[in-house]
């Protein structure tokens, strides 16, 4: 056999080359991506063209707005623990992603967002749909990078995934010029395993763990706060084993909530502004406060000067910049929560703090009498958000994935849902992004197709991303949407009532008929105004195999209590407006 000619070899070489656009798709496949949320446009058309040939390997969800795509990717990431992926075009496509990227940044959600960009020779010329996406997204990304040649694509994508998912997760933006998409590259892919300038997590420090264990072992009134870090590190079981062994009552942040079974005897509820009474007042009575994977957000701490002053604080945290940022830690344990908790469980003594745990029960009784009973079994005919949420929880055996929008509906969803599985509560915490709920529910449903996904949204927030009903319809996603409709920007109205002398400045809304709108999208729905209708309709919603919109007209001027007013101490939590 004669050796193949030089021309033949060159031809073969060329044949193995693929376009940058195809390299994008192949790189995503290498990272195990199954779903992409996106919206096409000029600058990302080559990537979309390449995607056309991969419809067997990867599912692309066309949302109705890029904000919908990014929130859906967040919902997907939060429910699966995988990296959420979205595509958008340059200019307005990319800027429409920013709200979701900022939300993912503050809530530590792993995302890789790929934006098209004008061809590299046009950069900086104010070309059509050029915007400085790297510049705009810099403050709200864990990392971002502009790719201008096809050769950079595999490495940049590998790094993007590694950075997004490792350590404290976060969003990454890759801005991809059009010429890089069109150019040819020899494709080989290698996953990124380390970056020398980046320490995703620190190894456990035995000394600090030992000091933490000593404090815990001698504590009389220890109290544990768990945040989303527990979920992100997959430390749910370790958390439970730890509190059970050391006999420590625990409470979750908004984002941590579903990390521990709501019915667990040591789960004392939710922290924060509208959290439970016990966890808030006991924060200022405990002697050792153990914070795991949480960042002492001001909605959790209230006035920091009057926060847990009496307690020794132990902070288990993966991100060094969170240590001593808000609350000074007496003992800081850097590292992954799963590893830290596992080690700590070995070091602590088996204990019970029966009297102390009982104090939480007593506080719960007070809250039950003054707040919860009124919310769940109201004497007034008007429906409360609380009873709607609780009914959904009961009808789904506390098994559903609960997605919430922002406002009173969000707080009702968090307070009255019960969780028996982790990654079951998806809510915009740090940014409080109205409009998050509906698209996040889409992502959650795609990420967890076998679970019931119920989204509670306000009439205000729904109208911020209502067009995503189109996405639900097109994909026929069985998302259950419960509108807690009070014809108000309820949470703002509540503040106006309590702190601005009932001056309801621009918070009342004339709403469209949401059921008709849903119908227009081909989504069945019902409106209910009474308790009797509610139960029937909610059953119908759950039993319906497809999507469903339930518009619940709730009491217009109800308030969410308890409440720690801004600037007050957690122990000054109010149980009602009369206090």
């Amino acid at each position: 056999m004669t050796a193949p000619s030089k021309e033949f070899m060159e031809m073969k070489q060329k044949a193995m080359q693929i376009t940058g656009a195809e390299a994008v798709i192949r790189s995503l496949l290498e990272e195990g991506v199954e779903t992409i949320f996106g919206y096409p446009g000029g600058a990302i058309m080559p990537v979309y063209d390449a995607l056309y040939d991969f419809d067997k390997q990867v599912r692309h969800i066309l949302t109705r707005h890029e904000q919908g795509a990014v929130h859906a990717a967040q919902g997907y990431a939060r429910v699966t623990g995988d990296v959420g992926v979205c595509f958008a075009t340059s200019g307005p496509g990319a800027t429409n992603l920013i709200t979701g990227i900022a939300d993912a940044m503050i809530d530590s959600t792993p995302l890789v967002c790929i934006t098209g960009q004008v061809a590299s020779p046009l950069l900086g010329t104010d070309a059509f749909q050029e915007s400085d996406v790297v510049g705009i997204s810099m403050p709200v990304t864990k990392w971002n990078y502009q790719i201008t040649t096809p050769e950079e694509i595999p490495t940049a994508i590998a790094q993007a995934f590694y950075i997004a998912r490792s350590g404290r997760p976060g969003p990454v933006v890759l801005d991809l010029t059009k010429d890089a998409q069109f150019g040819k590259v020899d494709f080989t892919y290698k996953r990124c395993e380390k970056i020398r300038s980046y320490v995703p997590e620190y190894p456990l420090d035995k000394e600090s763990l030992k000091s933490a264990a000593d404090l815990i072992n001698s504590a009389k009134k220890p109290f544990l706060l768990f945040g989303q870090g527990v979920v992100l590190s997959g430390a749910e079981r370790e958390l439970q084993e730890f509190i059970e062994k050391a006999g420590i009552p625990a409470a979750g942040t908004l984002l941590g909530l579903s990390a521990l079974d709501s019915e667990h005897e040591l789960n004392t509820g939710m922290l924060g502004m509208h959290g439970n009474y016990g966890p808030n007042i006991k924060t200022n009575e405990c002697d050792v406060l153990i914070a795991v994977g949480m960042r002492f957000d001001d909605r959790v701490t209230g006035d920091v000067k009057r926060y847990a002053r009496q307690a020794k604080v132990i902070h288990l945290e993966i991100d060094p910049s969170e240590i001593n940022k808000i609350i000074k830690a007496d003992v800081a344990v850097l590292g992954d929560a799963k590893k830290s908790l596992r080690m700590l469980t070995r070091l602590v003594k088996k204990q019970e703090h029966t009297d102390w745990v009982n104090e939480f029960h007593q506080a719960a009784d007070i809250e039950n009498e003054k707040v919860i009973q009124k919310d769940l079994f109201p004497v007034k005919p008007g429906l409360t958000m609380g009873e709607v949420v609780r009914m959904s929880s009961e009808l789904t055996n506390n098994q559903s994935v609960v997605v919430a929008d922002v406002g009173q509906n969000q707080m009702a969803a968090a307070r009255y849902s019960k969780f028996s599985k982790t990654r079951s509560h998806i809510s915009s915490g740090g940014l409080g992004t109205m409009g998050f709920g509906l698209p996040a529910a889409i992502g959650a449903k795609i990420g967890a197709p076998d679970r019931e996904v119920v989204a509670f949204v306000g009439d205000g927030g729904l109208q911020m991303t209502i067009q995503e009903l189109g996405t639900i319809a097109q994909e026929n996603l069985p998302v259950k949407l419960v509108v807690l409709n009070n014809h108000f920007l309820g949470m703002v109205r509540q503040w106006q009532q309590l702190f601005f002398e009932r001056r309801y400045s621009f918070t009342e809304m004339v709403n469209p008929d949401f059921v008709k709108i849903a119908e227009g999208f081909g989504i069945p729905g019902k409106q209910v105004t009474t308790r009797e209708e509610l139960k029937v309709a909610m059953k119908e919603m759950i039993d319906n195999p497809g999507p469903f919109l339930l518009d619940v007209l709730v009491e217009k001027e109800d308030n969410i209590f308890p409440m720690v007013p801004t600037g007050a101490s957690v122990s000054d939590i109010l149980l009602s407006a009369e206090e």
Binding site: N144, S197, V199, S321, N324
Partner: protein, 184 residues
């Protein structure tokens, strides 16, 4: 109490990183008094030297935020006393003034400055030192009319034995190897 601190950071030499670092200050409304970026002893690794007047706790927080950036290897902060630092200043004075008396020459000698270039129109003088020193010379020369004046950002070096950057990189490799990451 606000004090002057020198922040040093080592980073990869990547486009946009300067922006990533400065927005950490902007977001907190902290003014950067001076900023110098240049290649360090190791090629490919940049060194930032940033001077701020702030409270220690805020500086600690800012330094952690800098170090948190993916492309930053390490960030530190020091008080002025803990470092040896210099700035460089250039002054342009009319050559005429130099010719008319020996005062400028004396000033140059007294301040340990030196003359870089003389043309018939102007003379360029260079001085390195702390800000007060370069400022003092400026005020002296300005009696003769300084035509142009420029002062650099601060460069600073610690009092400890050496930069140990290469050792740092070896330690970093060991650290990264020691963390077993969760399998994804």
């Amino acid at each position: 109490m606000k004090e002057e601190f020198i922040i040093s950071a080592y980073s990869e030499n990547h486009i946009g990183l300067l922006n990533r670092i400065t927005i950490i200050f902007t977001r907190r409304k902290v003014n950067i008094e001076s900023l110098t970026v240049s290649e360090s002893a190791l090629s490919g690794i940049s060194k930032f030297t940033i001077v701020v007047r702030e409270e220690r706790s805020r500086v600690e927080n800012i330094v952690k935020q800098i170090e948190k950036q993916v492309d930053v290897l390490k960030a530190y902060f020091h008080t002025n006393e803990e470092m040896i630092f210099q700035e460089i200043a250039l002054y342009k004075v009319p050559t005429q003034a130099l010719m008319e008396s020996d005062q400028i020459e004396r000033m140059v000698r007294k301040h340990n400055a030196r003359i870089l270039e003389i043309t018939k129109d102007y003379t360029v003088i260079e001085k390195t030192g702390h800000k007060e020193e370069t400022q003092e010379l400026f005020e002296g020369l300005n009696k003769f009319g300084v035509l142009q004046f420029i002062r650099s950002g601060r460069v600073a070096i610690t009092r400890s034995a050496n930069e140990r950057l290469s050792e740092f990189l070896a330690e970093r490799d060991a650290l990264l190897a020691s963390i077993e990451m969760k399998s994804n």
